[in-house]
C-alpha cells in the first residue's frame, strides 16, 4: 500500500462550461461536458422513450465514458520524462494517486462498464441507499468498499442527480470511511438545478461532473424532461 497522496489542489477543467440554460451561474465545483451538437444528439437518443434497450446501452455508455474521462482530468498528474522508441526524450506527465469507483445501487452499477473501459481493472465499491419508509429520509442499507479506500480518489457514480438526497448520504458514508471531501468526484449523466444546489451547498469542495443540467423536478421528484428511470431502462426490470 503506497502512502496517501497529498490531496492536491483540484486541476482545472479544460472545457468551457456552457450548459447554463437552467442554472446560471453554476456553482464553482460543477463541471459539464462541452455542450456540442453531438452530445445533444446522444442525449436525444437516450431520452427518447422509443429507443431500444440496445441503443440505450450503447449511447449511454458513450456519455459515461466522456464523463469518466472528464472526471479523471481532475486528478493530479506529475511531470515525467521518458524515452521514446525513436530514442528521443519526451517531457510528459504521469498519473498520480490511486482511484476507485463507488456506485450507488442500483442505477450506479450501470455506469461501471463505462468506467472500466477507461480505467482498466479499477476497484469498485457499492452503496445501497433507500428511502426509509418511516422518516422518508435516505437510509444506508448496505456498503462494501476496497479496504484502502481512504487512500484513494473516489469516483462516485449515480446516473441521475434529482433531489440529491441519496448522493449526500453516500458522501456521508464515504467520509465516515476517511475519504476527504475534496478527493471525491461525483459523476452523473443528468442533474436537476435543485439537486445541484442542495448538494454543492452541503459539499462545496466536492467536484460534480454532470453531462447535462435539466429544467427541474416534477411533483414526484423526477427530473424533467429527464429520461425516466435509468436503471429500469438499462436493465429492463
Amino acid at each position: 500500500m503506497s502512502s496517501v497522496p497529498a490531496p492536491a489542489p483540484p486541476q482545472p477543467a479544460n472545457h468551457v462550461n456552457t450548459n447554463q440554460a437552467h442554472m446560471n451561474p453554476l456553482p464553482p465545483s460543477v463541471f459539464t461536458l462541452p455542450q456540442t451538437a453531438q452530445l445533444e444528439a446522444l442525449y436525444t437518443i437516450i431520452r427518447d422513450k422509443n429507443t431500444s434497450r440496445g441503443d440505450f446501452l450503447f449511447y449511454s455508455d458513450r456519455i459515461i465514458r466522456l464523463l469518466v474521462e472528464e472526471g479523471l482530468n481532475h486528478l493530479p498528474v506529475v511531470k515525467k520524462t521518458i524515452e521514446t522508441p525513436t530514442g528521443s526524450t519526451y517531457e510528459g506527465v504521469g498519473f498520480q494517486g490511486k482511484i476507485c469507483g463507488v456506485s450507488i445501487l442500483r442505477a450506479g452499477e450501470a455506469m461501471e462498464a463505462g468506467l472500466r473501459e477507461v480505467c482498466r481493472s479499477v476497484r469498485i465499491g457499492k452503496i445501497l441507499i433507500q428511502r426509509d419508509e418511516e422518516t422518508a429520509q435516505p437510509k444506508l442499507f448496505y456498503s462494501k468498499f476496497p479496504p484502502d479506500i481512504k487512500n484513494r480518489y473516489v469516483l462516485l457514480l449515480d446516473p441521475m442527480l434529482a433531489t440529491g438526497g441519496s448522493a449526500i448520504k453516500a458522501v456521508e458514508v464515504l467520509m465516515e470511511q476517511g475519504v476527504p471531501e475534496e478527493r471525491i468526484i461525483f459523476i452523473n449523466l443528468i442533474a436537476s438545478p435543485e439537486g445541484l444546489t442542495t448538494f454543492t451547498s452541503k459539499y462545496p469542495l466536492l467536484k460534480v461532473i454532470t453531462g447535462w443540467i435539466d429544467e427541474g423536478l416534477n411533483e414526484k421528484a423526477f427530473i424533467i424532461p429527464g429520461l425516466g428511470d435509468f436503471g429500469e431502462r438499462r436493465y429492463c426490470v
Partner: protein, 524 residues
C-alpha cells in the same frame, strides 16, 4: 456480392513479379479479368489532382478471330504493368424485355447486332475507368440470357483493354481508345474455330452452329464488324501474330515511358518536401502549426498522461493497446462532432417533449489505412457501432520511397458512386509523417466521388515539418483531427529487413519524439 462461378464474373488474380509470364499463359479463358502485379504508384500530383488517364486499348474483330488471345498476349508481353483490366463487351448486353427473353431462349435473338449492346453504358463505364474513377459494370448471365441485378466493382487500372466484336463500332467508345486494334482472320478459319468451340465446349450440334452462323454471325460480321477495321490503328492477324503483338507492346511501352518522363517530376511524393535532418527542430515559415489548420485534442492532464504512456518505449503491449484504444475513442468522439446535425423532438418516458438534435446524414463509414490505422479502429467502433469499415493497404517501396497501393477494400458506401457523393468517411491512420499514405488514401476516396469536405482524417500524431503542409495545400477541406503534433521528422533505421537475406534494418521516416512504429507496437 461476388459470383465467382458466373461465366461473366471477373476473376482477380494477383501475380508475383517473376511468375507473370507463366501465370498468364495458364489463365483460364474467361472474358473479364483483372490482373494485379505489384502495387499502384501515385497517379496524382502534389496538388492532389490526377496527372494522367489510364491507357485504353480497344480490340475488335470477328467472333472467334482471336481477340481474347491477343488481349492476353499483350498483358503477358507487357510484363510489370501494375493493374490491367480486360473488359469484355459481353458484359454490356442490354436488359431484355420478356418478349426478347423468349426469343433469346429459342436462339432467335440477334446478339450479333450493335443494338444488342448497351453502348452508352459501355462508354460511360470505360470513361470512368479511364479517368481513374471506380466503375460498377453490369453482369450478364448467358445462362439466363439476362443482365443481373448485381454489378461488378472495378477500380484502379493502369491499362484497360476493351474487347469485343463491336468494340470499334461506337464513335463514343472509339474516342476513348488510346490504341485501336483490329484482329483480322479469314472467315473460314473463324467458322472452323467456332464449330469446334461450340460443339465441344457448349454442346451444340453442327447444324445448329451453322444455322446461327448464317442467320446472324456472318451478316453481322460483313455489315458491322469488318467495316470497323478502317478505324483501327493496327490490324493484327488472328494467328501467328507474335510480331504484331511485339510491335504493339513496344508502342505501349514507349507511350508509358513518355508519360513517365513527362509526369515523373509532378508526382506527389510528400517526403521529398521534408526538410533535411540538419535543420530539424527549427520551424520553417511554410509549416507553422497555425497554418496547418489541424484539430488537436485539448491537452488535458489525461490526454498528456495517455500520450506519455504511448510514447514511452518501456510501455508493454498490453498497456499500449489499452491506452491506444482509449485515445482512439476520444479522437473518434472529437472527429464526429463535425457531422451535420438537425433538430429533433422526442418524447421522454416522463411524458414531456425534449427538443434535441440528431445526426443529419445517410451514410457514414470508416476506412482504415493498414496497418497502423487499425490501432484507431476499436475506438471508432465504440463510438459508431453500425458503420461499415473498409481498409486500404499502402506500403512504401523501399528502392524509391514511393507509396504503393497494394489493396483497396472499400465499403459499399464508397464503391457506389451515387452513395459516395453523399457519404461521410472517417479515415484512420496512426500518424501522419511524410503524409504519403494519407495523400494516396484521400485521393482514392476522391476518385470514388467522396466530397473532400466530408472526409474526416484522424491520427494519433502528426509531424509538423513532415508532408502535412503539402497535404494541407492539396486537400484544404479535409478535416484532420489528432492527439498531438510533434516538431520533427527524420530518417532513421528500424529493425526488420524488407526482404530476407538483406540487412536486417530498414530505412524509414521517424517522427520525433514520436511513438515509434504504431502498427508494430499495437499488433506485434
Amino acid at each position: 456480392m461476388s459470383h465467382p462461378d458466373l461465366t461473366t464474373g471477373i476473376e482477380r488474380l494477383v501475380l508475383g513479379e517473376g511468375d507473370k509470364a507463366t501465370e498468364v499463359a495458364a489463365l483460364p479463358p474467361k472474358k473479364n479479368t483483372v490482373l494485379v502485379s505489384h502495387g499502384r504508384p501515385p497517379w496524382y500530383g502534389e496538388d492532389g489532382q490526377r496527372i494522367c488517364d489510364a491507357f485504353v486499348i480497344g480490340v475488335a474483330g470477328g467472333s472467334a478471330s482471336g481477340k481474347t488471345h491477343v488481349a492476353r498476349q499483350l498483358v503477358k508481353k507487357l510484363g510489370s504493368i501494375p493493374t490491367v483490366i480486360i473488359l469484355s463487351q459481353d458484359s454490356f448486353y442490354r436488359y431484355h424485355t420478356p418478349e426478347e427473353l423468349a426469343l433469346a431462349h429459342a436462339n432467335l435473338l440477334d446478339f450479333d447486332h450493335p443494338d444488342a449492346l448497351d453502348m452508352p453504358m459501355f462508354a460511360a463505364c470505360l470513361a470512368d475507368l479511364k479517368a481513374c474513377k471506380q466503375s460498377n459494370i453490369p453482369i450478364y448471365s448467358f445462362a439466363e440470357h439476362q443482365r443481373l441485378q448485381e454489378t461488378k466493382y472495378l477500380y484502379g487500372a493502369t491499362i484497360i483493354i476493351a474487347e469485343g466484336i463491336m468494340a470499334l463500332v461506337d464513335p463514343a467508345l472509339r474516342a476513348l481508345y488510346d490504341l485501336k486494334v483490329f484482329v483480322q482472320a479469314d472467315s473460314d478459319l473463324m467458322l472452323a474455330r467456332r464449330i469446334k468451340r461450340d460443339v465441344t465446349e457448349r454442346g451444340r450440334t453442327v447444324d445448329g452452329v451453322l444455322d446461327q452462323y448464317l442467320r446472324f454471325v456472318k451478316p453481322s460480321y460483313d455489315n458491322f464488324v469488318r467495316p470497323t477495321a478502317a478505324h483501327a490503328d493496327i490490324i493484327v492477324p488472328g494467328s501467328n501474330n507474335d510480331v504484331a503483338i511485339a510491335l504493339i507492346c513496344t508502342h505501349i511501352r514507349q507511350q508509358f515511358q513518355d508519360r513517365a518522363n513527362r509526369f515523373r517530376a509532378k508526382i506527389a511524393i510528400p517526403h521529398l518536401y521534408v526538410p533535411p535532418k540538419s535543420r530539424s527542430g527549427t520551424s520553417s515559415p511554410e509549416c507553422k502549426l497555425e497554418d496547418l489548420d489541424l484539430i488537436c485534442l485539448p491537452q488535458t492532464p489525461q490526454i498528456q498522461g495517455i500520450l506519455t504512456i504511448l510514447r514511452d518505449r518501456t510501455t508493454d503491449r498490453q498497456d499500449f493497446y489499452f491506452f491506444a484504444d482509449r485515445l482512439a475513442t476520444l479522437l473518434a468522439e472529437r472527429s464526429l462532432e463535425f457531422l451535420p446535425f438537425v433538430s429533433k423532438t422526442v418524447s421522454t418516458p416522463m411524458g414531456v417533449d425534449y427538443h434535441g438534435q440528431e445526426p443529419d446524414l445517410q451514410y457514414l463509414c470508416g476506412v482504415t489505412i493498414l496497418r497502423s490505422g487499425g490501432a484507431l479502429e476499436r475506438g471508432f467502433r465504440r463510438v459508431i457501432n453500425n458503420a461499415p469499415v473498409g481498409s486500404l493497404l499502402i506500403q512504401t517501396e523501399h528502392e524509391t520511397g514511393d507509396p504503393l497501393l497494394l489493396q483497396a477494400k472499400l465499403p459499399d458506401f464508397v464503391r457506389q458512386r451515387h452513395i459516395a457523393e453523399k457519404a461521410w468517411v472517417y479515415l484512420l491512420d496512426g500518424q501522419i509523417g511524410t503524409a504519403a499514405a494519407a495523400f494516396m488514401a484521400i485521393r482514392v476516396l476522391l476518385d470514388h466521388g467522396v466530397q473532400e469536405d466530408r472526409i474526416i482524417f484522424a491520427a494519433f500524431l502528426i509531424a509538423r515539418t513532415g508532408g502535412i503542409s503539402v497535404l494541407r495545400k492539396a486537400f484544404p477541406k479535409v478535416r484532420i483531427v489528432c492527439a498531438a503534433v510533434d516538431d520533427r521528422i527524420s530518417e532513421g533505421w528500424i529493425e526488420g529487413g524488407a526482404k530476407p537475406g538483406e540487412s536486417n534494418r530498414t530505412k524509414v521516416w521517424l517522427i520525433q519524439p514520436g511513438m515509434g512504429q504504431i502498427g508494430d507496437r499495437y499488433y506485434l
